[in-house]
Symmetry: C2
Subunit: 331 residues, 2 copies
């Protein structure tokens, strides 16, 4: 097998986040389910935006955040996703390129719809509730998957959110087949509890057929297997014959690999400001370690480190120098 040109190629929605602080009453009044992602139409986005307070805009997107994190750690990531021919798309493309991610897509493949945006409400408990207008992202299809890029990447990382876009299923199958043919790894992020509920069958089938690494938080794993205890979740993850990472918020994370189980605590931080991107950055740290030959405990510690940085400020892209933090932590 040839040396991989890229550590990880992410396939995901190219989203710019519009972040705003709010209170629990607002979330309740809007009938939102706190801590989850809901899909909204352009009209709903407009109506919600009009009700939101002052905001800041920063690039986001789950897999894109993970690729940005890998780049910030010094790795070589690539990203496949769709943006519209507008300024929001330019902002997304700019931010992902300058951090050091090869962006496959963008202006070269024009879309009919405008770029995606996620209206993210951050409550005083630092929890984030997302309302996403997918726009151009829904146009992702098999033509956007460059089999050579997949073959050139050590790991192909797919966000579960993709199952909400109509033609992405075909695109993902194409990517998985290309990875399989090139003897590369496939990683899946479960993304969101409701995504798991909506697409349990498809996700389970993909795991059986192709997936080598699973990333998910405890709620997502519980819903995937329709279980409600930590022990059952671990058992079921073990039965998938994958390398599985289950994140547990302040309780840290657990890595299941065959018969072995590795637990790491959450990295300490002074104050949790905004949990947007916590799972994405855990995956970034873990995958950086994984593609650089580190052992599983080391990989998980890198995941915890990157997640801790991201929840210490607003937005889902690293602000601190992750490479420096990694060195300081002796990782």
């Amino acid at each position: 097998m040839a040396e991989a040109r890229y550590d990880v190629v992410g396939i995901g929605s190219a989203i710019v986040d519009i972040l705003s602080r709010t209170d629990d009453d607002f979330i309740a009044a809007q009938g939102m389910s706190k801590g989850t992602m809901a899909l909204i139409t352009a009209d709903q986005a407009k109506a919600l935006y009009d009700k939101m307070g002052k905001s800041m805009e920063m690039s986001g997107g789950s897999a894109a955040n993970t690729m940005a994190g890998i780049a910030a750690l010094g790795g070589k990531p690539a990203f496949i996703g769709k943006v519209g021919a507008d300024r929001i798309g330019e902002i997304f493309a700019h931010d992902i390129k300058v951090i050091g991610v090869y962006f496959h897509g963008g202006a070269a493949r024009p879309t009919k719809l405008p770029s995606a945006m996620s209206l993210i409400l951050v409550t005083p408990d630092a929890q984030r509730t997302m309302n996403t207008y997918l726009g151009a992202c829904t146009e992702l299809g098999p033509d956007d998957i460059d089999a050579q890029l997949i073959a050139d990447s050590h790991v192909t990382y797919i966000e579960g959110y993709q199952w909400d876009t109509p033609r992405a299923k075909q695109a993902i199958r194409k990517a998985c087949q290309a990875a399989s043919k090139a003897k590369r790894k496939v990683a899946l992020s479960l993304s969101d509890p409701f995504v798991v509920e909506r697409h349990r069958g498809d996700l389970s089938l993909l795991i059986e057929d192709y997936v080598d690494l699973i990333f998910g938080n405890q709620d997502e794993v519980f819903r995937l297997f329709q279980v409600n205890s930590f022990e059952e979740a671990v058992t079921r993850l073990r039965q998938t014959n994958t390398l599985a990472c289950m994140t547990r918020g302040a309780k840290g994370a657990v890595v299941i690999d065959g018969a072995t189980t590795t637990e790491v605590p959450a990295a300490p931080i002074a104050k949790v400001v905004d949990t947007t991107g916590a799972g994405d950055l855990f995956a970034a740290g873990f995958l950086y370690g994984f593609t650089h030959g580190r052992d599983l405990a080391h990989c998980a510690k890198l995941g915890a480190l990157a997640a801790a940085e991201i929840i210490s400020h607003m937005g889902a892209r690293p602000e601190a120098d992750l490479r420096e933090l990694m060195t300081k932590a002796g990782l």
Copy 2:
């Protein structure tokens, strides 16, 4: 004279800021003049943006920042400015409305050009260097000035930056005449040392004909009068027969009103992060006090308080609750 419906109406450029951290070498290599604002074309903006690191987008614009600050303090501001029919324009309009500023303009008056953006580079010393593509803002003209809105506002606040837009001069004259006719006050912000250099004659004439309040930092005042000592600057400001505020960074501010001079120190903060908006928020605090009948020392202290908040974080719109800070400070 009727009770004013608005405390202050600002006339200025409707800009979304793209903020990015950089180092002094980058500023030098790009031939920029640190701490100032340069106008750039759409092509130059694209070229510079491609070289900039990861960024965050937040609403800005000098007079718009001042109006946002007045709203955050509990005042009643209005804003006149032009945005394009695009998402950047929507972001600007959203952010200024939700903070409580009446926005005169926006979608109702379509422009040919896209919305303005300012590429702002923040160096480790917290200084900001701005590169502004004015776009839709250059279309501001006399038709955008609602004489009734001016007559309904206690103070009409004009940013010096407006002299860089071709038809703004006529718009400003129209606004000043409307304010004068309604016996309202006119305030001028000198905005930027190079703006003063480019438009010294026009600014001096406006001061002579209409201006009641002047806001500027020491460098701007020095350049306006072509003097180079604090004492000369104070003397020349006194001769304008205006109420003049000269800000001096860490040295605080001085207010000149006829024969009296009032000095206030800078409000203490833990760490200066980004000076973008410091002058804008000083003006906000001062004008809030001024339009609420506070004495000059009180007004200047409010200015120092609002400026201190804005330089403690990235971006030129208040993050903390200014009203609460004001109460805590016993103002």
